[in-house]
């Protein structure tokens, strides 16, 4: 389904300094530093998997998501998703994926949610029948019935996130990228979102890749986690394996997943 091998990507970042004098200096000469965002990342994901992609801020999570969703072209490496190379056949490829950026909205702010959905239907060229049945399923399972005619700006964050997720599934994609889908949500909404992700994964076989800082998301959803730090893939495996690995050296009590992650970050020195 998804095979990523040897992806590397680096960025040039201009150095910024403070103070009037150095600002004047920078007027004439500017220094750059090379930042390696991704360094030889390889993994593969089978259809129907839910994979949690974790790592501290700035580790390269969103860069990977950007590469996999065809936004960014890597410096090196290959990536094959459903037979496509994301950055080469962008238009054909993105019809098969759904992307939710947790911090940004894809809905039109001032109009009722349903209007946004209809526009997305036209953008993705979804056949009317398919759209209807998807919409029906999504409204039922995400409990959107009451809010679908409300303008987005009047929705709460939790309601909005539910609509965002629905919006990225209208064209029945086979892969769903979720970039921090539970950020800022209250407990009820978090659980609703998690339940829904499990459900579409089970019922429709959608492959889900999610990044998050909330380890409970991982615990509830992901059977497999990928840990990335400083651009390198550090761990790829089962959550239980991970737990076994760390459980022995804490004699007192079974550590929570949060504690395990903190230990891992420490071990790999990536914080």
């Amino acid at each position: 389904m998804i095979t990523v091998s040897g992806i590397s990507k680096s960025f040039k970042v201009a150095k910024r300094t403070s103070g009037v004098r150095s600002a004047v200096k920078a007027l004439f000469r500017r220094e750059y530093t090379e930042v390696e965002a991704l360094n030889d990342i390889s993994f593969s994901i089978a259809p129907g998997e839910i994979v949690g992609y974790i790592g501290p801020n700035g580790a390269g999570k969103s860069t990977t998501i950007k590469v996999m969703s065809g936004i960014l072209v890597p410096d090196q490496g290959t990536c094959s998703i459903m037979g496509y190379t994301p950055w080469l056949d962008r238009v054909a490829y993105v019809k098969n994926i759904g992307v939710v950026f947790g911090q940004r909205s894809q809905l039109w702010w001032d109009v009722p949610v349903i209007d946004s959905f209809e526009l997305l239907r036209d953008i993705y060229d979804v056949p009317e029948e398919e759209y209807r049945s998807n919409l029906k399923l999504l409204t039922e399972t995400l409990d959107l019935e009451d809010i679908i005619r409300t303008p987005v700006r009047q929705l709460s964050l939790g309601q909005r996130m539910r609509c965002e997720i629905a919006a990225s599934l209208l064209h029945s994609p086979s892969i769903l990228f979720l970039d921090e889908p539970t950020i800022g949500l209250d407990a009820v909404s978090k659980i609703a979102v998690r339940k829904f992700i499990t459900r579409i994964n089970k019922e429709k076989g959608v492959t889900v890749i999610l990044t998050t800082h909330d380890m409970n998301d991982i615990e509830a959803l992901a059977h497999r986690i990928l840990l990335i730090g400083k651009g390198k893939l550090l761990f790829d495996g089962n959550l239980n394996t991970l737990r076994d690995q760390y459980v022995e050296d804490s004699a007192a009590s079974i550590p929570t997943i949060e504690e395990i992650i903190v230990r891992m970050y420490k071990e790999y020195q990536i914080t």
Partner: protein, 267 residues
């Protein structure tokens, strides 16, 4: 006082950081200047009667406009202030130990000065060495130069008092755009930014002369170019001072009223 200096410093550093922005601004200013001058040149080229202001004086006028644009344009927008007002966060500002009118006034002043610092010297320097007829001429004597600086500074104070009134009016309208846009369009027309005041028809000049807008731009520039003589300038400076007093008093009064309303509403 220290706070104002740091606002000024911050702006200056910020402005310097963006070197391409500074260069782009410079290029823009020169382009505008050239276009305006060429249009005037074209008009003057076949004019039969002597015009109320000579072409070299007019060219100087245009370059000064470009050089000091950030000191004279009415619409120097500070979104931070607008947001403060419309979002109701003004309540925090009220907790500060400084008087709010004075603080905002100084902030606006610092912003304009910082932005002018970056622009005026290169524009003046380059314009002064342009080939004729595009050259910016120098003031005829030291007295004129001094008078120019004084009138320009007074003009700057006046323009800030006017823009303070604009900000205060947002307390009432709660909309940053629209009516304010019109306010600045008309104000800039009356300040001689679209066509210089001496070229306006007499009836319009009569109106312009009783309003404060022209004192901010048109007046200092004409003092510089010698179009307004030293003795005449000395007569108008008290008028600048008078307007300044009136506008500041009006601003303080309306601001006090507006703030009281905010407090009553519970911020």
């Amino acid at each position: 006082m220290k706070a104002y200096v740091s606002v000024f410093r911050l702006r200056l550093v910020n402005g310097l950081q963006y070197r391409s922005a500074a260069l782009a601004g410079l290029a823009t200013q020169f382009f505008w200047g050239f276009i305006l001058i060429m249009v005037f040149e074209a008009f003057y080229s076949q004019a039969l009667v002597t015009q109320p202001i000579s072409l070299p004086q007019l060219i100087t006028y245009v370059w000064l406009q470009q050089a000091f644009l950030s000191l004279i344009m009415l619409w120097f927008r500070d979104n931070e202030l607008f947001q403060l007002i419309t979002s109701g966060n003004i309540a925090y500002e009220l907790c500060r130990p400084t008087g709010i009118y004075g603080f905002w006034y100084a902030k606006l002043l610092a912003q304009r000065l910082a932005s002018a610092m970056l622009r005026c010297f290169p524009v003046i320097l380059i314009a002064a060495f342009l080939p004729q007829p595009y050259r910016l001429s120098m003031p005829v004597d030291a007295v004129t130069a001094l008078l120019f600086v004084i009138t320009l500074i007074l003009g700057l104070f006046i323009i800030i008092s006017i823009s303070m009134l604009i900000y205060i009016s947002t307390f009432v309208t709660m909309s940053a755009a629209g009516s304010l846009l019109m306010f600045s369009v008309i104000g800039e027309f009356l300040a001689g930014m679209i066509i210089p005041v001496p070229l306006m028809p007499d009836w319009l000049q009569a109106i312009v002369n009783v309003l404060p807008f022209r004192l901010t731009a048109d007046f200092p520039f004409r003092v510089y170019s010698g179009h307004i003589s030293t003795s005449e300038a000395l007569k108008i400076i008290p008028l600048q001072l008078l307007w300044l007093t009136v506008l500041v008093a009006l601003g303080k009064y309306t601001m006090g009223k507006a703030l009281r309303r905010v407090v009553v509403q519970g911020g």
